[in-house]
Symmetry: none
Subunit: 419 residues, 2 copies
Amino acid sequence: MNAEIIAVGSELLLGQIANTNAKYISSQLSELGINVYYHTVIGDNAKRLKQAITLAESRADCIIFSGGLGPTKDDLTKETIANHLQLSLVTDHEALGQIEAFFTQRQMPMTANNRKQALVLDGCEVLANHHGMAPGMFLTYHNKTYILLPGPPKELEPMFQYEAKPKLAELIHDGGVIRSHVMRFFGIGEAALETELDTLLETQTNPTLAPLASDGEVTLRITAKAQSDAEAEQLIQHKVQEVQAIVGHYQYGIDDDSLASKLVDVLRHNHLTISAAESLTAGLFQSEIAEIPGAGDVLIGGFVTYTVNAKTHLLGIPSSLIDTYGVVSAECAVAMAQAAQAKTGATIGVGLTGAAGPTAHGDEPAGSIWIAFVIGDQLPVTKHLQLSGMRNTNRLRTVKYAYDAILKQLRHCGYDIQL
Amino acid sequence: MNAEIIAVGSELLLGQIANTNAKYISSQLSELGINVYYHTVIGDNAKRLKQAITLAESRADCIIFSGGLGPTKDDLTKETIANHLQLSLVTDHEALGQIEAFFTQRQMPMTANNRKQALVLDGCEVLANHHGMAPGMFLTYHNKTYILLPGPPKELEPMFQYEAKPKLAELIHDGGVIRSHVMRFFGIGEAALETELDTLLETQTNPTLAPLASDGEVTLRITAKAQSDAEAEQLIQHKVQEVQAIVGHYQYGIDDDSLASKLVDVLRHNHLTISAAESLTAGLFQSEIAEIPGAGDVLIGGFVTYTVNAKTHLLGIPSSLIDTYGVVSAECAVAMAQAAQAKTGATIGVGLTGAAGPTAHGDEPAGSIWIAFVIGDQLPVTKHLQLSGMRNTNRLRTVKYAYDAILKQLRHCGYDIQL
């Protein structure tokens, strides 16, 4: 079975909102193993909607509509489909009762146009709307399946998940399941990953492999079709091991992990705490850790030392060190890391300093950045980056490189880092 | 002129990402007065892409493509268009130089597939990519305009705005101009703003007014059509003054201003400096200031004091104060603000403490937050928030409330705050 998603709404074409419904529905269909070949967005226009339906019927088994089920004149999705399929619209009394109750509850007068929301395609199965007024519809007609969903994501998502998806699963039921996992990598580009995995990518059948780059990271989605969950998981785990044998060094996590959440997990698991002194990142390293629930177990606190004065006064770094090596130096980064560790008593102290850009910092070009950290009483580790992004991309990237470098060093030192 | 946007990428059809590029491009086209009747999304599939191009050519004057310009085998947008239009692909040597420089700078080996990124449609105008490797293309051919943009929003948005949009504006130039400005508000909801501006919204013709809520802020876009820039600007300025007469108290800025950039501007202009001690926000307040170029003139640095120990040890807050009032208290926030000010010598010291959620913090419910700040030797200002969002939304919201409260207090004290 393959599906096409048609979103109806001029606000989408005006760029007021993004079509997040298509993303949501697509990810749900992907889980069911239903292929989606097209998303289409059109405005509140009956003629163009009709053309879009005709086209979709020529290439898809299932057409899913979002939007245009509301009470106003420009809501015309079901009217247009009814006209196109030559079906009538009939009042669904259960939906009408809910709409009337909605207004009674709020002690608001119900305007007449709200009755229009209870009209459904004759012969369809009605999909209940537990978060709004307009009901959805599920109709199989002349061998095509039509699913009509309301536009607001808060109404559409639960309606799809709990009302439409089970009906779709029933339709396509063949005893099989589809499962996928995402492997997450840092420190390798998408092109390099594909080159490394060339043979695996060329010969993929089941599971399939799909690499994707975003925000300086690369992910690899592994999707398996099988007769049972267990069998699909086994296929995926086998493929994960093949991939790890080639590029495992770059993998930091799986599925919903982020570098920050992985670091927090590893620190908690190993009873380690962390502190930082941040110059160019100015608190971002610590703030992203604090985003993760449970960060309180590992993040003690630390310093933002944006100016030279802050580095000497708050951290006690000697002016002579800064005079000799400059603030963008391995020496300064190490001194910052050691001060953060010493002043907070954290197991790990981190120092981040550099020229975020857009301008150079003295002799140091924009994007020249030093990361340093100290784990316990080990020797400090330093890493130099030469980034070429915009100021803020460089700051975000620095934080990711720092998380990744600490994770790799912890693994190198024999700490438990389960992937 | 009307346009159609074709996004290419299987990750969109799999529901891994939303088509935010179509939203961005549509909003930009709307400013130019170009109608968009269709968004189409297709996967990395040459046959379906070719069909989509043929269909788009039958109904649009301008076709804008996003995605599929990268180095890998499944990037096939320009190859398919070249084949469809029977044009060849030629190496753009400037783009190739930039790609080579990218790898040299990072001291990474350049794999051969990266050279593919420098290929462009013969006869096109090349759109420079200042944030990535793949160049864009602008081609007018047989009376149709084809614009090819890279998929990552960080690359696509500046390329569209600074490279493609001016060329489009030239194409559609008819002696008239369309200009718009965005007024930015904080501390008032969208519905309340609409109610306040009821009469203005009801009677709008030219300029038009479009309110929009996002991330706890509300914006009002004012768009004017006129015969000249000067005339359009005059129409907009007149409307801005009418709006300010009603809700000016809530306005913090205009166009590309953010609360953080506005605060940095105002502090620089008035030769003030700032420091903070952050608990729940853990560096976010300072980091967002550091995002703004020129932040070095106003941000000295400060503290992340996530634990009680960090508050007593790094800031010197007496344990007795914390025992008496708790860490989520006006007293603790004020002590943090005063310590940040005293220890850094900044003009303004800020203290942020609270229960970000998802769990309560002792007796304090999730979302209970105290903001305190001291300007020079004035009495401290405190503000309590009871937020109801998710953990990270609450942390972001806290930072915005703090910026806004400081700006309002500076205006109240007679500092120069030009809007």
